[in-house]
Symmetry: D2
Subunit: 351 residues, 4 copies
C-alpha cells in the first residue's frame, strides 16, 4: 500500500501498557502509519528494549515527547501519558492543529469543580470541557469530525455500557447504583511497585480506594450523558490476579418491576447495531477470557425476582483494548470517517 | 503425649480439598487423633497417593466410608462429602452416638421447604433442623455440648460475619442487601472439569449462578439468626484465578445515616473478644493474601457519604480454613470444651 | 473480497484449544474461507456455545466430523484431533483428494517401529512416512506443493529450532542433548481433568513423563533431519501455571569450544531470512510473554565458559500458535504458494 | 508456658519475605520468644502495617536494626537482610557474643577469591570462612553448638540435596552437572520492580542470569563439601508465575551405568533418617504444591536408559521455608540442641 495514503500517527507514552497496546493495534491498522514513538522514559533507546514483544513489527527509537516534532510528523497524536503530563502536551499540539486523542483522565470530566475535587488543580484549565468524551456507543455523533477526544477510562467503559440501556430507557433509578468491578493488574500501570508484585498479588484479591476511586465521577458523568439525568454510583474496584481484563457487576433498582425477558429484549435492541457489543443470551455470562485481546464488550443482564426485581448488569472487557487503546482507535476511526472496525477486527485470544 | 488422652476423630471424604485440609489441621491438633480416613474414591490406596502433601504426616490407607467402622473407632466424625452423600452417612453415625460435624450443605438450612426449593429432595428429612448451624461467632452458646453440627458454607461465613454487627444492631435494612463475592478455584471442589482447568480460568474472571446460587438462602438464614429478623440478599459469586480465598463485598442501606467512626466503633466492639476476627482500621482493607492458610477473617467497613450513607462491608477468609475445615474444628473445640483456638493458632502464610 | 477467490478450509476438532486457535487465525486469513467446523463433541450446537470467544466472528453449527462432507466443501482440512482419531479421518480425505494438514502426532514419526514403540498400533500404517513433517524452517522446500502435511508438536518446535543452527553446522554432539521444557496448561488440552484444575496447578510446577514423553523421538527425528545425523535427547517437560507458552532450555556440548560471539553470529546468519524467528541479542533472553498470541519464536544462545564451553539454547513460543495452529497455517501458506506470513502477521499481546 | 525458659530471638529485616516467614515460624516455636523486630524500612511503624498477615500474632513496632539493642535483648539474631547489609550487622553482633544466623549470601562462600569474583568486595573480609554453612543434611555435626551460621540459598538447597546421594557415593562426575531451576516470584524479594509486576510475569516464564547467577559457586561449594571433590555446574534459573516454590531439575552423567532401582535405593538409604527429606517412589514426581508452606524437600530420581544412563534428579521445596527461613530455624534447633523439628512440624498447605 502506498503509505502516502495513510494518516501519520504519533504515540506519546509508548513504553507503558496502553502505549504498547496502541502500537500493537496501530502497526496493523491499514489506514495509519506510525511516525512518532514518544516516551518519557527510555528516550534514545530502541523501542524493542522496552517493548520486546514489538521487535521486528515496530522499529525505531523512542523519542522524547515533544509537541513540535509530533506536530511536524503526525496528523493524530495518541497521548498515553499519566494525567497532568497529558494536559501539558495536549495544549501545544492542539495549537498546532494536531488532532489529539487523550487516553489520560485529564479531559474526561467536563465540570471543573468535579475535576478539582477528584484530581486537584488542572494543568490546562482553559481546555476543560473542550474535548469530546469519546465512548462511541454513547457519543458517536459528537465524535465524528472531532479534533480533540478524551478516551474513557477502563472501569467507566464497562460500567457505563453495562447500564446504558437501562438508563437510556429510564427503567432504573440512576441515583441508586452500585458498581462492583474487578480488574487485572495491567490496569495499575507499568510503574515499579511493591503492591503489584506477582509475589504479593498472584494469589490474592482485595478491594482498593473504596468510595473514593477517581473513576466514580466519570461513571456518573457518562451515565448522565446517556440518560440526561443525574447519576450517583457507589463504586468498588478490586484487583484480581490476572494481567488483563475487567469484569463489572452492577446493581440497579428498577422504577417498575421488569421481567428477565423484557430486560433482555431491551439490551438486544439497544445494542443491535453495535459492532463491538455482544449481548449474551440468558444462558451465558461474560468472562474476561472470552474478550481478551479484542475490542469486544460482552454484556449480560439478570433480574433477581426474589429481591424486588433488582437488576444485575455484567460486562467483560479487555481493559487495555476496549478499556483503553482499542476504544481510542475506534474513536479515531469514527472521527476520521474510516470504517469503525478498521484495524480492530481481530478475534479474542482464548485460552 | 499419651494418645489415649486424645479424642478419636474420623474424616469422611479425605481426598477432597476440605478433607485434606481437615487432615492438615487435625494431624497437628493436640487433643485429637486421626483414627479413620474415609474416601468415596481411592479406597484401598495409601492416603499419600491422593494427598501427596500429607506424606509422612498422615499415614494409612483410605477406607471406604462405613458408618459402623467409623463409629467403632472415632468419637467425632467430620463429613467432607458432597451434599446428599453426607446425609446418608450422618444418619447411622448419629444412631450409633458418634458426634457428627457435617461440612456439606445437607443440614444447614433449617426450613424443609427452603431446602427443597434450592437442593431438591432431602436424603434424611427427619433430621432437617436438628443440627446446630455451627458458626461460632453467631452461635457459640448453642454449639457448646452439641453432638450434631452443620458447618457453614464458605460464602455465607464471609458474608454473614461481614454484616453481623450491622444486623445485630438493627442499623441496616436486612431485606435490602447485596453480597458480591469472589472465590478462588478450590471452592469448586476437586472433581474433574473443563470449566475449572487452569487453561480456561487462569487469566479470567466471571460470575456464575447469578441470582440462583444455593448459598443465598443460607446467608439469609444466618443473618436472620443474628438479627432475629427476615433477611433478603442478592448474591453474586465470581470465580477468581487463585487457589484459595474468598473476598466478600457487601452493600447495605442504613436505617439512619451513620458516620464512618460510628460504624468502625460498632464493629470493633462487636468483635472485641473474637479470637479469629480481625477488624481492620480505616486505613486498611482485607486481602485474601493476609489470611491464607489461617482461620482468621479480616473485616473492614466503609460508609459512602456521597451515596446516602450506603455501608460497604468487606471480608476476606481462606475458603478452606475459616470457610470450611478450620471453622469446623473451631466448632468441635467449642462443642467439646477445648480451648477455642486449640490446633488453630497457626499464622497466615504470606506471600 | 470476492469469497470465490478464497480456498475453502475445514477444521476438524473445532472445540479444542488448537481448533479454536485455528478458527481465530483462519477467520482473519485473507486467502481462505472457513467452510466446515467439525467437532467430535458438541455436534449440532452453535459454535459459540463451546467457543464463546468466537461469537460473531465465526458463526455456524458444529458438525460431526465426516470426511465426505469435508471433502465436498473444503480444499484443505486441518485435523485438530487426538492422535488415532486423526489417522482415521485422514485416510478418506486423502482418498478424496483433499489436502490434509494434520496437527496430531499420527503422521509425524516416519519410522513405523519408533511410532509403535511410543504410540502403539497405528490406525493407518500404510500412510506412515507419507506426510511431510511441516516445520517450515527446516523443511520449506518439501512443504511447497505438498498435499499431506504433519504439523510438528509444540515441544519439538521450540527445541528443534533452538538447536538447529548448531546441529546444521555440526558444532555440537547431537547424541548428547538435554532439553528441559516448560509449558503452559493449554498444552494438556481441553479434556476434563483433576490434575490440570486451577486449584491443583495454579501455584505449582512439576515435571511429568520424565524420560518417556512422546515428543522425545520427534525431537530426535527433527534434529536428525536438520543435521543428517542421529540425535539423542534427554527430554524433561514441566507444567507451569500459565495458560499459554513454552520455554525450552537446551544444553549441548560443543565438538570444539566456541565463543559467545561465534555462536551468536551463527544463529543470526542461520535465521537471517526467517520471517518468524527472532534471534535475540546477547543482552536479552526469551520470555513467553513476548511471543504470546503470535507466530514468533524468540531464540537466544549462551556459552558457559566455566563449564567447558557448554552451549545453552533457549527458545520461547506460544504453544498454540507457533507450536500448533499458527505453524500449520504457515505451512499451508507455503504449500499453496501464498505469502508465508499471510494471515499470520499479528503482533504478540503484551502484557 | 514460662517465657523465661525461652531463648530470646531477634529478626533483622522483618518486612521482607524471609523476615515475615521467620516471624511466622518463630512466633509459633515453643522454645523461642521474639524480642526484636528490626527493619531497614518502616522503622517506627507497627509491624502489621508492613506485614498485615501477622496482625495479632506478632505485635510490636519495627525498630531500626541496631546491633547493641539486638545484643541486649536477644540470644540469637536472624539476619534477613540484603547481602552487604548483613555483614555490617554480623560483625558487632558476634563481638557482643550474640549467636548469628545469617540468611544472606555474605558468609556462605568460604573462598575469598570466589566471593569477590561473584559478589565484589566483602564488607567484613576477616569473617569470611568463619561461619558454618548450615545445610543440616550435609553439615549437621558442624552446626551443633555453632554460634555463627550461614544459612544456604534457596536454589543451592534444592540442587545440592537433589544430587547429594550421587555425589557422596561417587556415582557421578561432579564436574559435569546441569541444574535447571524454576522459582516462584517471592525469590526475587520484596523490592519495588517493574520486571516482577504481576502484569509482566503473571502469564510468562523466562530464564535469567544464564551462566552467571551467583548461586552457581554456592552449589559447587556445597556439592564439594558432600563429595570431597571439585564440582562444576551449569546453572540456569527461571522465573515461574507463582508466589512460592522452587523446582530443581538436575542432570548428571554416571561414572558407571546404574539401574533405576539402584539409584532409588541409594536415595532412600541416604535420606532414611532425615526428618524433612521425602524421597518419592518411582511412580511419583516432586511438585511444589506438595511442599508449600512446609520445611519438606521432596526428591525423585530417574535414569534415562536411552541416553547413556543419564541421571535426572528432581527436587521441590518452598523457597521461603526449606529454602530460607525454615532451614535457618532447623539449623538453630540443631545448634542449640532442640529437637530438630521443633516448631517446624507444620504440614504443607495443599491446594
Amino acid at each position: 500500500m502506498n503509505t502516502t495514503d495513510r494518516i501519520g500517527v504519533a504515540i506519546a507514552g509508548i513504553t507503558g501498557y496502553t502505549g504498547i497496546e496502541l502500537a500493537r493495534i496501530l502497526s496493523r491498522h491499514p489506514r495509519v502509519e506510525l511516525r512518532f514513538l514518544g516516551g518519557r522514559s527510555r528516550a534514545g533507546e530502541p523501542l524493542e528494549a522496552g517493548a520486546p514483544s514489538l521487535s521486528r513489527l515496530v522499529t525505531g527509537e523512542v523519542e522524547a515527547v515533544d509537541a513540535e516534532r509530533i506536530a511536524a510528523r503526525a496528523d493524530v497524536a495518541f497521548l498515553a501519558l499519566p494525567h497532568g503530563a497529558a494536559a501539558e502536551v495536549a495544549v501545544p499540539l492542539l495549537e498546532r492543529g494536531t488532532m489529539v486523542i487523550d487516553l489520560s483522565a485529564d479531559f474526561r470530566l467536563r465540570d471543573p469543580e468535579i475535576h478539582r475535587a477528584w484530581y486537584g488543580e488542572h494543568k490546562a484549565p482553559a481546555l476543560i470541557g473542550t474535548a469530546i468524551y469519546a465512548m462511541p456507543e454513547i457519543a458517536r455523533a459528537q465524535i465524528r469530525g472531532a479534533r480533540f477526544l478524551a478516551s474513557p477510562g477502563c472501569y467507566p467503559t464497562a460500567a457505563t455500557l453495562s447500564l446504558a440501556p437501562l438508563v437510556a430507557a429510564g427503567w432504573i433509578d440512576a441515583t441508586d447504583l452500585i458498581v462492583d468491578s474487578k480488574s487485572g493488574a495491567s490496569g495499575a500501570g507499568r510503574g515499579a511497585s511493591v503492591a503489584n508484585l506477582l509475589a504479593e498479588t498472584g494469589e490474592a484479591i482485595h478491594a482498593y480506594n473504596v468510595t473514593r476511586h477517581r473513576h466514580t465521577p466519570e461513571i456518573e458523568m457518562a451515565l448522565g450523558m446517556v440518560g440526561g439525568c443525574e447519576a450517583r454510583v457507589t463504586f468498588t474496584p478490586h484487583l484480581v490476579p490476572m494481567s488483563r481484563g475487567i469484569l463489572s457487576t452492577a446493581y440497579a433498582r428498577p422504577r417498575v418491576p421488569r421481567s428477565a425477558a423484557e430486560v433482555q429484549e431491551l439490551y438486544e435492541r439497544h445494542y443491535r447495531d453495535e459492532p463491538f457489543v455482544r449481548v449474551l443470551p440468558q444462558d451465558r455470562l461474560p468472562d474476561t477470557a472470552h474478550v481478551r485481546g479484542s475490542n469486544f464488550i460482552d454484556i449480560a443482564v439478570r433480574v433477581d425476582q426474589r429481591a424486588g426485581g433488582r437488576i444485575i448488569a455484567l460486562a467483560a472487557i479487555d481493559n487495555l483494548v476496549k478499556g483503553a487503546s482499542g476504544q481510542a482507535v475506534q474513536a479515531m476511526n469514527i472521527a476520521l470517517g474510516f470504517a469503525e472496525t478498521c484495524g480492530l477486527d481481530f478475534a479474542p485470544m482464548f485460552p
